[in-house]
């Protein structure tokens, strides 16, 4: 095992998939000589050439729409959207086309494609470089939505995404790109992580925190903090947000009887609503307390100025407060 960063894990996954399967190619803005604005594709242009790592025009609809065409043709596109905030021009292609192609053709045409995008705040990006957009897509049958929280999963899930016969949205917590480090197997030990299952990343008895991406990273920290106060928190990394792994969620609630869902997207209509609804519907008999959500405030997006950004963002302290509160219920 070697310790690497999130961004390196993502780069490695693409490198290995490009090497493994000739049909795989990358398309996006500045993914070529520039190696991506976050350097996720660094070195890949040099290694695989301009036919495999394609600088697109500045047009997200093009990136995804062309990706769909290439996928039905027989390629395995990895589409990069430079920031999740810029995915909206491609919304029609993702929701009307990629998601529905297989169903609408009764299985004739599938769209094996990955759309990668960095998401999330806390990096001084202001309203349009900080957004969490997952909840727009975790309601669209035909799509899969994946958000890794650590390098091991990032690499393993991205490789699975490339091999998946369906369109997979792969959102990367950009604040964690270099901040979150973790071990992955050596280069010659190929592994994947399956798309689908959530994972209990910290077993506990008193309550469960459900989170993903950067917030999962923080949730583990908060769980550690309150452990010393005698609160035994179970943490579940949702990882594959859609389709929802209801079984793992409900199993944890059966055990702890209390649920706190954490995400940095706005509270209302955010992804947490579905998790809360899932628990309120099928886990109700196990519940000892209200289902709590800790999430971004209902303002349009994360503001730029530092004090306002901090006001918006969820952090380990805020999670610890919510945990204590729920534990005391």
């Amino acid at each position: 095992m070697t310790e690497i960063t999130m961004i390196e894990a993502i780069r490695q996954a693409m490198d290995e998939e490009l090497g493994r399967d000739e049909r795989v190619f990358i398309i996006g803005e500045d993914v070529g000589v520039r190696g991506g604005v976050f350097r996720a594709t660094q070195g890949l242009f040099e290694k695989y050439g301009e036919d495999r790592v394609i600088d697109s025009p500045l047009a997200e609809l093009t990136i995804v729409g062309v990706g769909i065409g290439a996928a039905v043709y027989g390629k395995r596109p990895i589409c990069e959207i430079q920031f999740a905030d810029f995915i909206y021009p491609a919304f029609n292609q993702i929701v009307s086309e990629a998601a529905k192609m297989y169903y609408r053709s009764n299985g004739q045409w599938s769209v094996p494609m990955v759309i990668r995008a960095p998401y999330g705040g806390g990096i001084g990006g202001g309203l349009y470089h900080s957004q969490s957009v997952e909840a727009f897509f975790t309601q669209v049958p035909g799509l899969k939505v994946v958000i890794p929280s650590n390098p091991y999963d990032a690499k393993g899930l991205l490789k699975s995404a490339v091999r998946d016969p369906n369109p997979v949205l792969f959102f990367e917590p950009k604040k964690g790109y270099r901040l979150i480090k973790g071990e992955v197997p050596e280069d010659d030990q190929e592994y994947t992580v399956p798309i689908g299952p959530a994972k209990v990343t910290r077993p506990g008895q008193d309550l469960t925190v459900f989170a993903y991406g950067m917030m999962h990273h923080y949730a583990l920290q908060a769980a550690e903090t309150v452990a010393s106060e005698g609160i035994d928190v179970e943490v579940v990394d949702l990882r594959t947000l859609y389709p929802v792994d209801r079984e793992t969620i409900l199993e944890s609630v059966r055990k702890t009887s209390k649920a706190l869902i954490v995400h940095e997207d706005n509270l209302t209509g955010g992804y947490g609503a579905e998790i809360a609804a899932t628990i309120a519907e099928w886990g109700f008999m196990n519940l000892d307390a209200p289902v709590r959500r800790l999430a971004g405030p209902d303002v349009p997006a994360v503001p730029f100025s530092h004090p306002m950004q901090e006001w918006f963002m969820i952090n380990p302290d805020k999670i610890a407060v919510a945990i204590r509160d729920l534990a005391a219920f």
Binding site: F25, D51, S56, P57, A59, L61, T62, V64, G65, V66, G67, I68, G69, A70, A71, V72, Y73, G74, K75, P77, N92, Q93, S96, E97, K100, M101, Y102, Y103, R104, S105, N106, G107, Q108, W109, S110, P112, P141, G142, K144, P165, N166
Partner: protein, 327 residues
């Protein structure tokens, strides 16, 4: 390669067959036997002319909803079409999930398209990219209505194809209206072919009621694309002889006189006359074709009527693919 006499007759037959099938759909609608029809009447000459310029089984077609004649020429049977009109289980495009005329024929490389207009155009460019990356010499023909070229989606698709010199032919079927909205409210140029100059590729305007003029233009564009010379935009001018769809009432936006005027230029009649004048076909042959078409359409309706509906719960799948079958 000039068209043989046999090919030309086959092309006329495709026009005729799809016309009679299309007309029957209107009848079925009036009889209350189907809920919806969207028609290609008046556009068959351009459609057949264009589709004969690509190589069946090799090249790709990314069509839009008016392309009945194209898709018939690509191998969809009349009874398959009528099943889709009726929402019957074994219709080949979508298993009756989509409204009729949302075509897809996997075996013939006819890509599934949806209702939101212009979404198909970037797919055509993406297929073109795949072909180019593989060094293949297939070509993609994709179609769209003139109104739909107002979507940024079309612009982006053509722009990408032009930048990368992709083997795609963008055919615009300009039937003068987008439902009720005339061309002048869609664009400040006189033809979608004019849009090509702003994107750096050839733009050609042709008479869409002349099957052979369309064939020639598309064949040249296809030859260029096949040789790596890049994409083209072709606009074929024509007229939508029917209302937009069975839900439309076109009297609110165009006069009967206008429609009657254009009926005189009905491409089927013009083609028929031309064939007979040029000795490509006798009146008798024509009458035989009419009989054959009627018989085929009758049989199609009969067959499709007997075909079973899907079960409700069939709709539960297939949401996700387990494996990719379209490689």
């Amino acid at each position: 390669m000039p068209l043989s006499r046999e090919q030309k007759k086959e092309m006329f037959w495709m026009m005729l067959l799809s016309r009679r099938l299309d007309e029957r759909a209107w009848v079925l609608h009036r009889q209350g036997k189907i809920a919806f029809h969207i028609s290609g009447i008046g556009q068959e000459a351009a459609q057949v002319g264009a589709v004969y310029a690509i190589e069946k089984g090799k090249d790709w077609l990314v069509p839009y909803y008016r392309d009945l004649a194209m898709v018939i020429a690509m191998g969809m049977s009349p009874s398959e079409f009528v099943r889709s009109l009726m929402g019957k289980a074994q219709e080949p495009t979508s298993g009756a999930r989509q409204m009729p005329s949302h075509f897809s024929l996997h075996h013939a490389k006819v890509l599934s398209h949806s209702a939101p207009v212009a979404t198909q155009s970037p797919h055509a460019s993406g297929i073109g990219l795949g072909i180019k990356l593989d060094g293949g010499d297939e070509v993609v023909l994709t179609t769209i209505g003139e109104g739909s070229t107002s979507q940024g989606e079309w612009y982006e698709a053509v722009n990408f194809a032009a930048i990368h010199s992709l083997p795609v032919v963008f055919l615009v079927e300009n039937n003068r209206y987008a439902i009720s909205v005339p061309q002048e409210k869609q664009m400040a140029v006189s033809s979608a072919a004019d849009k090509a100059c702003g994107l750096g590729l050839p733009g050609i305007e042709v008479d869409g009621t002349d099957m052979f003029e369309v064939y020639d233009a598309v064949a040249e564009a296809v030859a260029n694309a096949r040789q790596g010379k890049g994409p083209s935009v072709i606009e074929a001018k024509m007229y939508r002889l029917t209302p937009h769809s069975s839900d439309d009432d076109d009297r609110s936006y165009r006069t009967r006189e206008e429609v009657e005027e254009f009926k005189k230029q009905d491409p089927l009649i013009m083609m028929k006359n031309q064939f007979i004048e040029q000795g490509l076909m006798t009146e008798e042959e024509y009458n035989n074709l009419e009989d054959k078409a009627k018989k085929m359409v009758d049989e199609a309706v009969e067959e499709a009527t007997k075909a079973p509906y899907p079960k409700g719960a069939d709709a539960a799948t297939p949401v996700y693919a387990e494996e990719v079958k379209n490689d």
